[in-house]
Amino acid sequence: MKKDYSFWSLFAKGLKYNEGWDPAWRSATPKPSYDVVIVGAGGHGLATAYYLAKDHGIRDIAVIEKGYLGGGNTARNTTIVRSNYLWDEAALLYEHALKLWEGLTEDLNFNVMFSQRGVFNLGHTLQDMRDIERRVNANNLNGIDAVVLDAHEVKRRIPILNTSKAARYPVLGASFQPRGGIARHDAVAWGFARAASKHGVDIIENCEVTGMDIANGRMAGLETTRGLIRSERVGCVASGHSSVLAKMAGLRMPIESHPLQAFVSESMKPVLDTVVMSNAVHGYASQSDKGELVIGAGIDHATSYTQRGSPHIIEQTAAAIIELFPIFSRVRMNRQWGGIVDTTPDACPIISKTKVKGLYFNCGWGTGGFKATPGSGNVFAYTIAKDEPHPLNKAFSLDRFSTGHLIDEHGAAGVAH
């Protein structure tokens, strides 16, 4: 477990039929107390623990998870990574994450298969195109790579895209972020888990929080299904279940939990070498390295914790994808799933201290949290270690819902909600 993966270790283990590998991380049993406890072993939670250990020298950390590691939304998303957000606060936060993505495989010594194949956001109306130009200009001013492409150029780069003028929603152009792309979602959770475990972080699965022990407005510990765990600093990174945790601390969150569905097709030969998103017809697609089309849907309108969406949403998404790519009309779908996303009123996350001293929340990522995984963990670790927000997440505090300083990113969020 202590050894790094390298060409030589792969080669040597390969000669022994790959039978000598150690587990990538240590499965721990809970100690009575920790310096910091992170609730939620998804990508964001594990990244938080990793950066707490690596950048802030805190080693006495537990990451507790009610299910299994990376089994929530980390395993249930369409893995798109980009940073082309409109407002400065959001753009800089997501760009911070994108820069970390670019060095993540080396940093973690774990191949997260980050593939910068570019992301297209299509425009179908004149207003779409005006919004795209505005967003691209804003991106360029923030030092983020983005260009506006016309329909001809989009067609040249994505030959299978239907750019016919006779289409019901004709493609007029697109914004393109070349540094955007996709990553292997499971590898992100496994890579952070392994790297955090190496720094001594305890990863405890099947351990659900059932209550919070708060004394005089200060965090004292967590009641869990595996007993009481004492800690004066707790970071909650529980996506769709954030409201449930907040309620245990007597807090209210501006969050509604909705199912968000996605599906993948059978494996095919390479046909789509980039990521295509369209807000107007509402679908997004890419092709994984295994050859599956990975297709994302919109959220169900009603709130739910069931990890199961409504069939009519699938129907609408399938219609949108076939509108864009008529060639996919007879592709068979292999799997379909739903994740519970924590949507906020301004489609921006909450990375914040709370009224309870020592209790921190990182939530509200809604439909687009995966792209931020390393950046989110990085700034949240800072927030917990210093008990004050990192400059990049200062604007994402809970108090923006009383000051009114919302960061309205519905336009760039990609999924309507």
Binding site: H241, S243, V244, K247, R252, M253, P254, I255, E256, S257, H301, A302, T303, S304, Y305, T306, R308, S310, P311, H312, P345, F401, S402, T403, G404
Partner: protein, 99 residues
């Protein structure tokens, strides 16, 4: 896909006919200018978002276009019933508020 009963049309119809209106029985502060920013922000943005029984508004968009309330379990999608706003309020109050 839910099948919802519209208490105005007195018919069960599929979810696609309806629009979702979010948490029911939120009360606007009687004197908005008198409450502080936190109370106003709480009214505007904060939600109970429970995992369990949830009172919520629906509107019969492609039917009578009237609002009504539904009590639904967000953990299982089980539906306890639908009522007009006035009837629903009585049931909600009799239960002692939010589930």
């Amino acid at each position: 896909m839910f099948v919802l009963f519209c208490p105005h049309c007195r018919e069960k119809r599929e979810e696609e006919e309806f629009g979702y209106g979010g948490e029911a029985f939120r009360v606007r502060p009687a004197a908005p200018e008198a409450v502080d920013d936190e109370a106003w922000g709480d009214y505007l943005f904060m939600r109970n978002n429970p995992k369990g029984w949830h009172w919520e508004l629906w509107t019969h968009t492609t039917g009578c276009r009237k609002f009504f309330v539904v009590k639904r379990n967000t953990a299982t999608n089980a539906i306890a019933g639908s009522w007009t706003l006035a009837e629903g309020r009585n049931v909600y109050d009799a239960e002692g508020g939010a589930g």
